[in-house]
């Protein structure tokens, strides 16, 4: 089937989407340099700056997390493709301050490489930058060897708590330790029911058989096993939260944050049903749904399905999650 998308020249896609994104969020974000997304009002330089990078086509991620209480700068790449090291380095130089910079990197080959090269250059220039890798996709089973685990929507809570810590004026080492604790205590699983197309190439990037769902679908719909007949909202919620809790080693009494992230064409109605199913499953385990959030934060074009992220929270992480923020993707007063 031919791709049905409202686009212009594919070569202009990223420039045009960023221009529109900034128009839609005037007062919160702005563009500077080589398409770096920054806050409209910069954070004081005595506080740690938080920076991330990643491919486009996942809106509102990742630039939607730029703003008070979360990111200072995002470096958007091409569609589904990481930005090159020069622009990441440009962002690190722009963010540079005595308080230091925290670079949050999602575990995807291109992102890791660009970040690694930019970090080497930052070190040569004597910039104070620390890096954290998010890799929480449990469709790759081993927690012991997380190199193969992809970074999915879990980047969002990591950015949220690290950004809040930075906003409160905590030093770089503490911001990093908080981000690492959030990262270690979270897990994500994706499920897809319909596929998506690459908006520039028209290439089908994921296909799901008519009557099936695929649990363990990655950020671009990479096949990952777990294909099975489509189940109800409650059944799907239960099987996914069970897998996440098992991976986290969660036990009765644990306080959980659960994020239901629609990836494109799954309705908000369905996402609420799924969250309701999660609550029932957690009640049965005597685990506490301490915080929940539903919506589209990291999308994969018109793919149908969602990512479920669960995290074991402590008092500090909960306080940072609740802290105010004002970004295109999330406002907390």
């Amino acid at each position: 089937m031919a791709m049905k998308k409202f686009i212009n020249n594919p070569d202009d896609l990223v420039n045009e989407l960023l221009a529109g994104f900034v128009l839609a969020n005037a007062g919160k974000v702005a563009l500077t340099g080589n398409n770096l997304v920054v806050r409209a009002q910069a954070k004081p330089t005595d506080k740690v700056a938080v920076v991330t990078l990643g491919g486009s086509g996942h809106e509102p991620a990742l630039s939607g997390f730029v703003g008070e209480g979360m990111l200072d700068i995002s470096v958007p790449g091409e569609i589904f493709a990481a930005p090159g090291p020069p622009r990441v380095f440009e962002a690190l130089k722009l963010a540079h301050r005595d308080a230091g910079v925290l670079l949050i990197v999602l575990n995807h080959e291109g992102d890791v490489m660009s970040a690694g090269i930019a970090m080497e250059m930052a070190e040569k220039e004597g910039l104070n930058v620390k890096q954290i890798l998010t890799h929480e996709d449990i469709s790759v089973p081993s927690r012991q060897d997380p190199k193969d685990r992809r970074g999915l929507v879990g980047c969002f809570p990591v950015i949220k708590v690290a950004g809040a810590a930075a906003e409160q004026g905590l030093p770089l080492d503490e911001c990093l330790a908080i981000a690492e604790r959030m990262e270690r205590n979270m897990a994500t699983l994706a499920v897809a029911v319909t596929g998506a197309t690459h908006p520039s190439t028209g290439q089908v990037i994921a296909e799901v058989p008519e009557a099936d769902m695929i649990v363990g679908m990655g950020q671009h719909g990479e096949a990952g096993g777990g294909q099975q007949p489509l189940k109800s909202a409650d059944e799907t919620a239960a099987l996914m939260i069970d897998a996440l809790c098992a991976d986290l080693g969660a036990k009765a009494g644990d306080q959980l944050l659960v994020l239901i992230n629609g990836v494109g064409s799954t309705t908000l109605m369905e996402q609420y049903l799924v969250l309701n199913g999660v609550k029932k499953a957690l009640d049965a385990k005597n685990m506490v749904l301490a915080r929940a959030l539903v919506g589209e934060f990291l999308t994969v074009q018109e793919m149908g399905g969602f990512q479920m992220c669960a995290a074991k929270m402590d008092e500090q992480l909960l306080a940072l999650w609740d802290a105010p923020c004002n970004t295109p993707a999330l406002v907390v007063k």
Partner: protein
């Protein structure tokens, strides 16, 4: 000898090879990938030629560094950093005003070493390394045997082509394509094919320049 001018003509010929195969490269990438490898490589070649045409580099290492940095600037996932690293790492080993056969082979080896520091992929994983590793080995063997620059590049290209063709029979064990498992068998890897085309261009650029 590879002089600054010869290096420039090698770059232009390599860019022409990639451009002529843009659709093929994207089509190969559509098996398990995004289908954008051809587009990304053409953008990388545009950046590479701009770095040459800027004529700001006064030496071979400087030009290789400028090319590497320009290629890295392509926002195309791992492609820019990997190919960019190859040229930037070549520059670390490419001293002097011109490269003789041994100098060129040594620079290729340094480029490969740089790439291997960036990726965990190994020969046999159906990646660009399946063309790059044999190409660099062949170049070194030819240079060690006393071959002139043109023969070094011919050996490198032939090994790269054979390596790229050999990836058709491989099952992807790295990158996005590994997720499609056995379905990845049957078509050559897009990145390895790009490496083969680059070396084809390098050879043409040297021979056409006389």
């Amino acid at each position: 000898m590879v002089t600054l001018e010869r290096l420039a003509s090698m770059v232009h010929a390599a860019a022409a090879q990639i451009r002529a195969s843009q659709e093929l490269l994207s089509q190969l990438d559509s098996h398990g990938g995004d289908g954008d490898h051809g587009t990304t490589m053409v953008r990388a070649m545009n950046c590479m030629e701009q770095a040459v045409e800027a004529k700001q580099a006064g030496s071979i290492p400087e030009l290789l560094k400028a090319i590497g940095w320009a290629v890295m600037g392509v926002d195309g996932g791992a492609t820019g950093p990997l190919f960019g690293t190859f040229f930037m790492s070549m520059s670390d080993a490419a001293g002097g005003a011109a490269l003789d056969a041994r100098g060129l082979a040594g620079a290729f080896a340094a480029g490969l070493a740089g790439v291997q520091k960036r990726t965990r992929a190994q020969v046999g994983d159906k990646t660009m390394l399946d063309a790059l590793v044999p190409a660099v080995q062949a170049a070194q063997e030819a240079a060690d045997g006393g071959a002139p620059v043109e023969d070094v590049l011919r050996s490198a290209f032939e090994a790269a082509r054979a390596g790229a063709e050999g990836t058709a029979a491989m099952q992807a064990r790295f990158g996005r394509a590994k997720n499609i498992g056995e379905k990845s068998i049957g078509q050559p890897d897009a990145g390895a094919t790009s490496v083969s085309l680059l070396f084809k261009g390098f050879l043409e650029g040297v021979t056409s320049h006389g």
